[in-house]
C-alpha cells in the first residue's frame, strides 16, 4: 500500500470515528430539533395587561410578556435578531385570567387581564431555529450579491478573451472598455439592489 493511500485511509478513518463520537447516536435516527415530550420549563412569568377593550388589554399583556422573554434571553447572553410576533408569544401563554373591569385614576374605566407565560426548552429551540433561519437568509443575500458580482466578472473575462482572440487584437481597447462597462453595470445593479 502506498503512503498516500495509507494516509488518506487513516484520515477517513479518523473523520468517521470523530463524527461518530460527536454524533453519539445510531444511524438513520430522525432529526430531533423539537422533542415536546422531554421539554422542560425554563422560566415562567405572570404579566398583566390593561386596555379599553379586552383585546387591547390582551395585546398589552402579550407585549409585556415579550419584553420579559427578550430580557430573560438577553440575561442568558442570547441576543436575537428575530423579532417574535405576538401570535407566537400568545402560543406560549398557558393561562389567561378573565378580564376584569378596573377604575384607574387617569384613564378611568379599563379592562385588566392577567397571563401566565411558560417558556420551555422546546420554545427556545424554536426561537433559535428562527434566529438561524433569519441569519441564514441574511447570509444568503450577502453571498448572492457577491456571487452575482463574481459570475459577472468571470463572464466578462471569458468573453473578453474570446472576443479578443476572434478579432485578433484589433478592438482590444473597445473590448476592454466593454468589459469594464459590463462589470461596472453589474456592480451598480448589485449596489442598487442592496
Amino acid at each position: 500500500m502506498r503512503p498516500t493511500q495509507l494516509t488518506s485511509l487513516v484520515l477517513v478513518g479518523l473523520l468517521v470515528s470523530a463524527t461518530s463520537a460527536l454524533a453519539g447516536r445510531p444511524s438513520f435516527r430522525p432529526p430531533a430539533p423539537v422533542r415536546t415530550g422531554k421539554s422542560q420549563v425554563l422560566q415562567s412569568w405572570v404579566v398583566q395587561g390593561f386596555g379599553v377593550e379586552e383585546k387591547d388589554a390582551k395585546k398589552f399583556a402579550l407585549e409585556e410578556a415579550k419584553k420579559q422573554l427578550l430580557k430573560y434571553l438577553n440575561d442568558q447572553g442570547i441576543v436575537l435578531k428575530w423579532d417574535p410576533p405576538l401570535s407566537y408569544i400568545e402560543s406560549l401563554a398557558k393561562h389567561f385570567e378573565p378580564a376584569e373591569d378596573k377604575e384607574v385614576p387617569v384613564a378611568g374605566h379599563v379592562k385588566q387581564l392577567e397571563i401566565q407565560v411558560l417558556f420551555e426548552s422546546k420554545d427556545l429551540r424554536y426561537m433559535l431555529e428562527k434566529e438561524g433561519e433569519l441569519r441564514g437568509q441574511d447570509r444568503m443575500m450577502l453571498l448572492g450579491k457577491f456571487l452575482a458580482g463574481l459570475v459577472a466578472f468571470l463572464m466578462a473575462v471569458a468573453g473578453y478573451f474570446r472576443l479578443e482572440e476572434a478579432t485578433k487584437g484589433y478592438y482590444t481597447l473597445w473590448l476592454r472598455l466593454g468589459m469594464l462597462g459590463f462589470i461596472a453595470a453589474v456592480g451598480v445593479g448589485i449596489w442598487l439592489v442592496a
Binding site: P31, S121, R135, M140, A158, F161, L173
Partner: protein
C-alpha cells in the same frame, strides 16, 4: 512579467501587438498581427544586439519545415531592432515533458527527435550552430516539431569562442567542451543526445543541486544509460561521449541510426557497462514492438486558453445551478422554503467550483489519485462549513451551549442541555461533504479527454454516495441533490475532446 508594449500598440509599422509571450536575455517576444491579418511573433532585440542580429541575419533565408521561420528584420522609429518570426501557437517541449514525468512513448520520442535532428542538421549544413538546444526552444504545434530561438546562433568559425561573453547554452544541455571554449557543431549533437534521453526517460542524465555540480557531471560522470530501452542505450551513449570526436559526426548520422533502430532487428543488446564506447551504431538494433499508429501529440490549451475555459465553466456552472434549482423548486410545488432553495443553489455552485478549479489546475497531469482524494476531502469539509454557515450556524452567536453556560452558570443549566445537539450537527455537516468528496474521483468529471461528453454513471454514483452518507447527515435530500447536480453540471460545463481510439497499452498515454 511587464512588457514594454501593451496590446493594441503598433511600435512597428504594419503590425499590431496583441500580447507579450516571452522575455529573455535577448529581448522580448510579442504575439502580433500584421495589417493583412498574418499572425507573427515579433522579437524586440535588446541586450547583446550585435550578436543577436548577426545570428538572426544568417538565419533569415533558411527554410525548413521543422525550423521556426524568420520573416524579416526591421527597425522602428526609436531605433529598436525587431525580428519578425513565425508565430507558434503550440507549447514548448519542456511543458509537454513536465506532463509526462515518466517520459514520452518511445515512438513519439523517436518521431519528434528525428524532426529535431533534421532541423538542426539543416542548420549545420548552412554553417550554423544552434548552441542553445533545449526543450524550451523546441515547440510542438499540432504535433509538428519546430526548433526556434536563434538568439544564440553563430557561424561555425574555426573553433575559438568569439569575444562575446554571453553564456553558451543551458547548463543541463551544455557539452563538456564548452567549458574549454573550444567547440563546434558537436555541442548540438551532445544537446540532442540529452534531449533524446529526457524525452525517453522524463529526466535529464545530469542533474544536481547547483550549476557547478551539473557542469562537473557533464565533464566527468558517465550518464546512467540503464534507464533507457535497449535500442537507445548505445545511441545515446555515443551522442553523450565526453570527447566530441567520439560522438556522431553529424545529426544526420544519428538520425539514421535512430531510424534504423525502429526498423532493424537487434538480437544482441549490450549492457551499458559492457558496451564498447561509441561503437554501438554498428551493432544490430532490436526492433521495437510494432504499434498500429504513432500517436499524434495534441496541443494542450495555453494558460490563457485555460483561464478562459475556467472562467467560462465557473460562470456557466452557476447559471446551470440556478436553472436546476428553479426546476427543483417548481417540482416542489411550494413545499420548499426560500431558505432551502437558496441553500440548494449556493451549495451546488460551491460544490461545482470546488471540483472545477482543482481539476483545471491538475489538468491532464498524472497525479496520485489518493492525494487528490484527500485534497477533495478537505475541500468537501469547506463545503460542509459553507452549508453550516448558510444554515445560520455560528460558534460565536446564540445557539451554542457554551455561551449560555458562561452567562448563566448555575440557575439555567437546563438551557445548556437543550442546545447540546449543536456540535454533532456541525460534525455531520462537515463529514457528509468530506466523505462524499473523498469517495468519488470528482476531478475525472472535468477532464478534457473523459470517455463521454456526459455520462449518467457519475450522477448515479454521486446519488448513491449521497444516500449512503445519510448515515452521517440529518438533512439528507439537500446533500444528495447537491451531489447529483454537481456531477451533472460539472460534466456539462467542462470542455471535452473525443479521446483517441485505444491503442497498445505502451502508448496509451494522453499526450501534450
Amino acid at each position: 512579467m511587464k512588457f514594454t508594449y501593451n496590446s493594441g500598440q503598433r511600435p512597428l509599422d504594419g503590425y499590431t501587438i496583441k500580447r507579450g509571450v516571452g522575455r529573455g536575455g535577448f529581448g522580448e517576444v510579442y504575439y502580433a498581427v500584421s495589417d493583412g491579418g498574418k499572425e507573427v511573433a515579433l522579437k524586440l532585440v535588446r541586450g547583446n544586439q550585435e550578436v543577436e542580429l548577426r545570428g538572426m541575419a544568417q538565419c533569415l533565408n533558411l527554410k525548413h519545415p521543422h525550423l521556426v521561420s524568420l520573416y524579416d528584420m526591421k527597425t522602428d522609429a526609436q531605433g529598436d531592432h525587431w525580428v519578425v518570426m513565425e508565430y507558434i501557437a503550440g507549447e514548448p517541449l519542456n511543458i509537454v515533458l513536465s506532463r509526462h514525468p515518466q517520459g514520452l512513448p518511445h515512438e513519439l520520442a523517436q518521431q519528434w527527435f528525428l524532426a529535431l535532428a533534421r532541423a538542426v542538421a539543416y542548420l549545420h549544413d548552412h554553417g550554423i550552430v544552434h548552441r542553445d538546444l533545449k526543450p524550451g526552444n523546441i515547440f510542438i504545434e499540432n504535433g509538428i516539431v519546430k526548433v526556434g530561438d536563434y538568439g544564440l546562433s553563430k557561424f561555425i568559425s574555426g573553433s575559438q569562442r568569439t569575444a562575446q561573453t554571453q553564456s553558451v547554452g543551458t547548463v543541463h544541455y551544455m557539452a563538456p567542451e564548452i567549458s574549454t571554449g573550444n567547440y563546434n557543431k558537436q555541442i548540438d549533437v551532445y544537446a540532442s543526445g540529452i534531449i533524446l534521453y529526457e524525452m525517453i526517460t522524463g529526466r535529464v542524465p545530469f542533474d544536481g543541486e547547483s550549476a557547478g555540480e551539473i557542469l562537473m557531471k557533464h565533464l566527468t560522470s558517465p550518464p546512467d544509460l540503464g534507464k533507457l530501452p535497449a535500442e537507445y542505450v548505445n545511441i545515446v551513449g555515443k551522442a553523450l561521449a565526453k570527447n566530441p570526436a567520439h560522438r556522431y559526426a553529424s545529426l544526420q548520422e544519428m538520425a539514421k541510426v535512430i531510424e534504423a533502430a525502429g526498423k532493424e532487428p537487434q538480437p544482441v543488446v549490450l549492457k551499458p557497462a559492457e558496451a564498447p564506447p561509441f561503437a554501438a551504431h554498428a551493432a544490430p538494433l532490436r526492433r521495437p514492438a510494432p504499434v498500429q499508429s504513432i500517436p499524434v501529440a495534441l496541443p494542450a490549451p495555453s494558460v490563457r486558453a485555460q483561464i478562459v475555459e475556467l472562467c467560462g465553466s465557473l460562470s456557466l456552472s452557476a447559471i446551470l445551478a440556478a436553472v436546476i434549482t428553479v426546476l427543483w423548486a417548481a417540482l416542489g410545488q411550494g413545499n420548499l422554503t426560500p431558505t432551502a432553495i437558496g441553500q440548494e443553489f449556493f451549495l451546488t455552485v460551491a460544490a461545482c467550483w470546488v471540483v472545477l478549479i482543482p481539476a483545471k489546475l491538475w489538468g491532464s497531469q498524472r497525479g496520485d489519485g489518493w492525494s487528490r482524494r484527500v485534497v477533495m476531502m478537505v475541500l468537501g469539509m469547506c463545503i460542509g462549513l459553507g452549508a453550516l454557515w448558510l444554515d445560520g450556524w455560528s460558534p460565536f452567536l446564540p445557539g451554542s451551549g457554551e455561551i449560555v453556560t458562561a452567562a448563566a452558570p448555575a440557575q439555567n443549566a437546563r438551557i445548556v442541555s437543550s442546545l447540546s445537539n449543536a456540535l454533532p450537527n456541525a460534525a455531520g455537516y462537515l463529514s457528509y461533504f468530506a466523505l462524499a468528496f473523498f469517495a468519488l474521483r470528482w476531478w475525472k468529471l472535468a477532464e478534457r479527454r473523459r470517455p463521454h461528453r456526459f455520462s449518467f454513471a457519475p450522477v448515479l454514483a454521486a446519488g448513491f454516495w449521497g444516500l449512503a452518507l445519510l448515515l452521517v447527515w440529518q438533512d439528507p435530500w439537500r446533500g444528495t441533490l447537491v451531489l447529483t447536480n454537481t456531477a451533472a453540471i460539472v460534466q456539462l460545463v467542462s470542455p471535452w475532446e473525443q479521446p483517441p481510439p485505444p491503442v497498445a497499452r505502451r502508448v496509451r498515454l494522453r499526450y501534450a
